[in-house]
């Protein structure tokens, strides 16, 4: 897929674990894991909003487009 998810990079920058993110944004670990492993087929605006709020970043910091 051409969309790259940089969630692990952002988590490392903020020194936060996936469990901590899960607890603060209220998204299950299973769903965050799907997102992190780039298995997700769609991302809700509400999910993106919650992640950006917690990690204090822009959607572009988490999602990146790289042509195949």
């Amino acid at each position: 897929m051409a969309i790259i998810v940089n969630l692990d990079i952002m988590l490392a920058k903020r020194k936060m674990s996936l469990t901590e993110l899960s607890n603060s944004v209220g998204i299950t670990m299973a769903n965050l894991s799907i997102l992190k492993k780039e298995k997700a087929k769609a991302v809700r605006f509400s999910t993106l909003d919650a992640i950006c709020k917690t990690l204090d970043c822009q959607p572009g910091d988490i999602l990146e487009y790289k042509p195949d």
Binding site: I34, K39, V43
Partner: protein, 213 residues
């Protein structure tokens, strides 16, 4: 994904239990049918067999009578014109019994297969598994099996027509060439095949839903 325990709708419960009961009744019928066919094959009845079979061809018959309806005080004159019926082979020859026994065994086998597949599908639905690849495959198998049933019944009808009906000689009735083709079975198969494609689309949507975060 963790499957949430949802309350099963009453309709699903009714369909599941009705299917289960009908399935086990059919299994008993299939066992009895197989025993009967075995008896026919082994000529257990030894010329004492009185076989009744449905004749899937129209019969022209002219029989007049009256109809007594409560709606009016008058009698209505009526006349039978065409009908379908059963035929009894008195002291059925063993070879004829074997032929019909073979037909019976084939149709029992196909219906048992359809019942097993349908029960698996209903059990999946009962367990909350709706849009699943297994269900799509099961629906497709049912539709193909129904096409097989249709093909077999058409063959059986024409066998009855050419082998039996055309050689019948009666004084007051005429056998027509109106052979039943049971096209409703084919329509049923088509409907289930379309349903399998709807389930396929549902499966895609379910997959998308599961991977939406």
């Amino acid at each position: 994904m963790i499957m949430e325990a949802v309350k099963k709708p009453l309709s699903i419960k009714i369909i599941y239990w009705t299917t289960s009961i009908a399935f086990w009744i059919f299994v008993v019928v299939a066992i009895l049918g197989t025993a009967l066919v075995s008896a026919l094959m082994l000529n257990v009845f030894e010329g004492d067999l009185q076989l009744h079979v449905g004749l899937p061809v129209g019969i022209n018959i002219v029989e007049t009578g009256i109809l007594d309806l409560d709606l009016s005080s008058k009698y209505i004159d009526v006349q039978f014109t065409e009908m379908v019926g059963k035929i009894q082979f008195k002291d059925t020859p063993a070879d004829l019994g074997r032929i019909y026994g073979g037909f019976m065994l084939i149709i029992l086998g196909i219906f048992l297969y359809i019942f097993i597949i349908f029960r698996r599908f209903i059990t999946n639905v009962y367990n909350g598994v709706y849009f699943d690849l297994d269900n799509i495959a099961l629906l497709k198998r049912i539709s193909y099996a129904l096409v097989l049933v249709w093909g077999f019944t058409v063959f059986y009808s024409y066998f009855q027509y050419f082998y039996i009906a055309q050689n019948l000689q009666f004084n007051s009735i005429v056998i027509t060439n109106d052979v039943q083709t049971y096209s409703e079975i084919l329509v049923g198969a088509l409907f289930i095949w379309v349903l399998s494609h709807i389930f396929m689309k549902g499966c895609e949507l379910q997959d998308e839903h599961n991977y939406t975060v």
